[in-house]
Amino acid sequence: MERVLNSEAVSDRELVARLQSGDEKAFDELVIRHQQRALNVAYQLLRDHEDATEVAQDAFVRIYRSIGEFRGECEFTTWLHQIVVNLAHNKHRWWYRRGKQVTVSVDCPVAMPDGAVEIQVAAKGDAPDVEATKAEFVQMLSEKIGELPPKFRTVLVLRNVENMRYEEIAVALGCSIGTVKSRIARAREALRQSMAGEL
């Protein structure tokens, strides 16, 4: 997974420091650098493009407002994930209370008023039949992940989509490393059982 979307000649920590000293351009750079990360985490948790965009944008707004409180005790991305996960959970609960059924087809392009955004399935360099099989597998996996409890889905996304270490996930979720380890193991076991015929 490519974690760097823009030039990282300047570290996140430095950008944060500049933003804290009033450099608005530093904030723009942070947004551009991490917008896709925030958007995809939110999307995996919410399975709704519009909601995910809203959550990701709100996360950056919150960061802008709270940048003075950020002490640098964790990575900026950890802080960002923490905010995105919290906002996504709030949004999920908001929809859950209203009975919205969140379903999505992974190979279905999402057409948005602000421009069509194709869902990109990572399948490069394989033969078409292999690629098709992988796409089918990913689609099924995506559906199964969608059926997981949010806390399982969250740790899986943070671990395997964002490549976050257990320690970072623990910080982002405000729990212990042992809890993260346990949740990931249980989430994978649940997926393994539900995908038994496909593995």
Partner: protein, 389 residues
């Protein structure tokens, strides 16, 4: 080490999150266990599958939207509702207080002052004096009170108005009486409902037994219900008896009658047959008690009028209080409250009584040594006697 001992660590083993020693132990077991190798392969496939989940590309205006949201949160709400009411705890009480103060101020300004009323009536009475000097100027037929008063006010000579002011020891008014009259006239013509036949008690014609009229134009008027009119005589008798006087049902010899009424009261006191003064009685009492009688009679009648206003649910009457009782009943007619529908008369009556009192004081000073007794004439105008406009 068997499979059960490594099962819980296989996921972390795949993620390489186990402590180095544990990682090596699990790895050793997996290398010799086909079942655990299959399990690790499945976990790696799942992890790869999750990593391959669809990715979204942010919209081009993502940053612009973030900036817009930040600006929207930064700009204070400036809608007119916010401007008017927020913060609620501060602005609403202040605004409510301001509304009350302004409303009270406007009420004071709009309501005609007693000074203006007295000035208007004084001019009117002066006009009547002029008419008495030239009888031909008095209309032969009863006229609507409002128009009669209006004409009288507008035609009152200025020197007479000034003389009336001088009587009170004030500077003559700079405002022409017609100005006040037209104000009253506008209110009557434009706003009030068609006048209802009023029942009125007119206290008038203060004369001496010797026949010398001393205060022929003094008037006081109360608006009461028909049933209240019946009580007027009993009330007068009770008050007069307490003051050493008595009620006379016939006109005492040597006294003048309705000539002492003003034009307005003549109009009100004229019955359907054109007879002036349909019902009247006289109160004879010591002259020194006249003012007291007038005061008590007025007070009682005012209280009755006031209570009627309250009973009819007109909170305005209650709020205005006793002193404004006459004004308060100048509203819409009700079933058990006969209303004159003539605010000018009510106001004028209030003002004229003030003058009557002052005139009575003069009378007392002049007449006390010669005439210890005086006679008051009270004219009752029932609804059937009231000429229609």
């Amino acid at each position: 080490m068997n499979c059960d001992q490594v099962q819980s660590d296989l996921s972390a083993y795949v993620d390489r999150e186990l402590p180095a020693k544990r990682q090596a132990e699990v790895g050793t077991h997996i290398a010799g266990c086909a079942a655990c190798q299959r399990r690790v392969a499945e976990l790696e496939k799942l992890a790869a599958g999750v990593a391959a989940l669809p990715k979204l590309q942010p919209a081009p205006q993502f940053l612009a939207d973030v900036r817009r949201k930040i600006r929207a949160e930064s700009v204070p709400r400036t809608s007119w509702i916010d401007w008017l009411f927020r913060p609620v705890w501060l602005k609403v009480p202040i605004e409510a207080l301001a509304v009350i103060v302004v409303a009270g101020f406007v009420l004071v300004l709009v309501r005609p002052s007693r000074k203006v009323e007295q000035r208007a009536l004084q001019a009117y009475e002066s006009s009547e004096s002029a008419r008495a000097a030239a009888p031909a100027a008095v209309p032969a037929t009863p006229q609507p009170v409002s128009r009669a008063v209006e004409r009288s006010l507008s035609s009152a000579p200025e020197e007479q108005r000034d003389a009336g002011e001088a009587y009170r020891g004030r500077e003559p008014s700079k405002k022409p009486a017609a100005e006040t009259a037209s104000r009253y006239g506008n209110e009557l013509d434009g706003k009030l409902p068609p006048p209802q036949p009023p029942a009125m008690v007119a206290l008038s014609g203060v004369v001496t037994p010797s026949g010398t009229a001393t205060d022929m134009h003094a008037i006081n008027t109360w608006v009461v219900s028909g049933s209240e009119v019946k009580d007027a005589q009993a009330l007068a008798e009770r008050v007069a008896t307490a003051l050493g006087g008595k009620v006379l049902l016939t006109k005492p010899a040597g006294t003048e009658s309705s000539d002492g009424l003003t034009l307005a009261q003549k109009t009100l006191a004229t019955d359907k047959n054109g007879i002036v003064g349909a019902q009247r009685f006289w109160v004879e009492l010591p002259k020194s008690k006249k003012q007291q009688f007038m005061s008590e009679f007025r007070q009682t009648m005012d209280e009755r009028t006031f209570s009627l206003g309250v009973r009819n649910g007109r909170s305005e009457a209650a709020a205005l209080g006793k002193a404004k009782a006459v004004d308060a009943v100048g509203g819409a007619p009700t079933n058990n409250l006969v209303v004159a529908g003539n605010l000018r008369l009510d106001n004028g009556a209030t003002a004229s009584f003030s003058k009557l009192q002052q005139q009575a004081e003069v009378d007392n000073k002049l007449d006390e040594p010669q005439e210890p007794m005086t006679v008051l004439e009270i004219v009752i105008v029932s609804p059937s006697d009231q000429p229609m406009h």
